[in-house]
Subunit: 423 residues, 2 copies
């Protein structure tokens, strides 16, 4: 069944160039893109065309790093750095998800708002609790989003109320993966989620690698976010050459296990080299890195090296699921980094942050985040009529303006893997 | 006629401390606050009480620096620094306001959205055009906001299509002030607005001082925003000790003329000392200073020195009229400044940015921006029900969350100088 959307179509031609097709046709068959055409090719005459008029159609946004249980306290308690913030805000809130009733209520809010947003794909941290993690996955599947969700592993340096025994962590992870297999979700996949090196013993990491191999699942974690964290990892893993090497020693840093590392704010040249060699994906989380005073990642360098970079909202160190906000902060943080720290790395541009929010992050899911042929059909139709203006404006300008001003009110329609997400 | 609003009342006790009165009464008579009370005092028994329940009531926000004609291109063309951005985006757009039909259309959009926002007071730049500046003032008066508006003066270093002859600039300014006097606006005042030193000849500045003295009006301009601008001023005014001294030599830098200077990002110790001595108000515009890669002002120092500091949206170098956004960027920019540039100046806190957005900026208008007795009655009632959450939250947390997440949708009611602003 071949169909098309018609409108002002925008996607990335490359990491720093937009491709714009005005009044174009986005043709797709089932869940796959056929192509974008300025006029409908003869072979497609008679297909169903949904005409979105002057609205802008972009690939769905990909949130490479978000903590679902932290949605409850988004925009709160931002006056601390990472390690204090975890102890004070994060761990107490996450412990509540042992209670399935609370989890039901809180996760529903997260899922409802994610559904309304321009996000079509996300890599999500849940908590250590198996039952509520599965509940979250059920909700996301029902919402029609395409996500990877991780039950978190933590067996050290965490408060009693949010720490697993090593064996328990392993067994619960296996049990979670077995249950998820039975669920046969269409668009909801598990992702192995050791919280970060300080929370996971060597023994646990070894066993998680076994699980990763057995179930052939991807991995997500945190890397080089904050100076205090980096020194702590060096103490905890004296044999590691650098923070990322601590993951790599356990086989959980790219190579044969597809891996996202969030932040990479303070990665040194050795770590950058290893990420590049291992094909690690970087989830750049500019609002989070600002709110927790972590710093600003050298994203210009990552892009120039041809590394995999996407964007993360990182709720609740980031305040919102709105990926337009992640895009604007990515530009803004790069400007302050350029001005205040290092004029060698020029600020990011609008086409670059758009690329990161679509194709850059999408690549973690496969052929996702573009309208090129054979890509999965994720699209968002944006209506910017709320953003009133007196003058003429071209499509690129309208998109730029949305990066600074849009929220869920601009989302007019959303398609995930070929299916229209309904209200 | 004494009345009261009832709700969760928050205002600044000092520049770094909130005063919260839960389920309190904000009592006012005509346009002046009487006080805030946890229970209604006997003497006020029987007065009309508007009960806003669990909603939060704060002083209206004060935008100390905003360019009305730039509203049209908010969120656009952010990939330049100041001087190029002025030539490429700003001056061409501002020249359109010679056409009163365009001005009518464009200014109405600005005024409508400002009215919907949580802003009750603003210091506004118009353009060099007298007629459209008066039109803007008519609209603002009708909207019920309390503002100061300036016809801009520019007689050099500006494109032909947006430059006045010196005499013309002087005469038009006088004619504008005479017409405004006849209008007898209630809440709309003129403010003298030399754009910035590079745009104004010495001769013009001398004559503007005469006008300032004759009409006894305040002054607004720009100061030390960008390195290129600062060097340029040094070339243009070789006799000035520093940028601010160039204004001071003409008597347009505080002292007997109440003055706001926007930005003050790169003010050196001499300039800071002079601003303090002269009682100059600083309009801190963190989003603008980020978008134009200008840098981050040392606001912590300004607060510690007891200087006058408020916040500005600085549309369109800032993208939005939403003063919650200015507050969140003030915190965020201060964190990156601390991390990337100078760990001696600690990041701003939520109570501090709230103070700057209310009482700090409000002081430019007199007794404005607080709920202490004798302050003018500007208040905003905020309803945060859209910002769903599963857990209990206190009033301070709800306010903090709004600083990160709120927009005009949270504005439930607004009072300016004792009058409720109606839709």
């Amino acid at each position: 069944m071949i169909k098309a959307l018609k409108g002002q179509i925008v996607y990335s031609e490359s990491s720093n160039k937009l491709k714009i097709c005005e009044n174009g046709y986005l043709v797709y068959e089932a869940n796959k893109i056929k192509g974008v055409y300025p006029t409908l090719p003869e072979e497609y005459e008679g297909i169903l065309v949904e005409d979105y008029g002057n609205r802008i159609i972009v690939p769905g946004f990909v949130d490479l790093h978000v903590h679902a249980p932290q949605y409850a306290f988004r925009g709160l308690g931002m006056d601390m750095e990472l390690l204090d913030w975890l102890e004070t805000n994060t761990f107490p809130e996450e412990s509540k998800y042992k209670d399935i009733i609370y989890a039901q209520k809180a996760y529903q809010m997260f899922v409802d708002n994610l559904k309304k947003s321009a996000t079509t794909r996300a890599c999500i941290f849940a908590t250590i609790h198996k039952e509520s993690t599965i509940l979250l996955m059920d909700m996301l599947e029902k919402a029609g989003l395409a996500t990877m969700v991780g039950k978190v592993n933590m067996d050290r340096n965490s408060p009693d109320y949010l720490r697993e025994e090593t064996e328990e962590s392993v067994n619960e992870t296996i049990s979670w993966l077995e249950e998820v297999q039975k669920k046969q979700y269409q668009h909801t996949k598990p992702i192995l989620t050791p919280r970060f090196i300080p929370s996971c013993t060597d023994e646990l990491m070894c066993k998680l690698k076994d699980i990763q191999e057995k179930y052939q699942i991807p991995v997500q974690s945190h890397l080089s976010e904050n100076y205090g964290e980096i020194s702590w990892v060096q103490e905890l893993c004296p044999k590691s050459e650098f923070y990322g090497d601590a993951y790599d020693q356990f086989g959980l840093f790219g190579r044969d296990s597809k891996t996202i590392m969030a932040h990479c704010v303070h990665s040194d040249e050795r770590e950058i080299k290893r990420m590049k060699e291992n094909g690690v994906f970087i989830a750049h989380c500019p609002e989070s890195n600002t709110n927790l005073s972590s710093g600003v990642a050298p994203v210009r360098q990552y892009l120039e090296e041809g590394m995999h970079v996407g964007l993360g909202s990182d709720i609740a160190a980031g305040s919102t699921e709105n990926m337009f906000v992640a895009m604007r902060y990515a530009i803004q943080a790069s400007k302050l980094r350029w001005r205040l720290k290092d004029e060698k790395l020029s600020p990011l541009t609008m086409p670059e942050v758009f690329y990161m929010a679509t194709k850059g992050g999408g690549e973690f899911f496969g052929k996702v985040g573009s309208f090129e042929a054979a890509y999965e059909m994720d699209a968002v139709v944006l209506d910017d009529k709320r953003l009133i203006h007196p003058q003429e404006m071209n499509v690129e300008q309208r998109l730029e303006r949305m990066i600074y001003l849009a929220d869920e009110r601009e989302v007019y329609a959303k398609y995930v893997v070929g299916e229209k997400v309904s209200d």
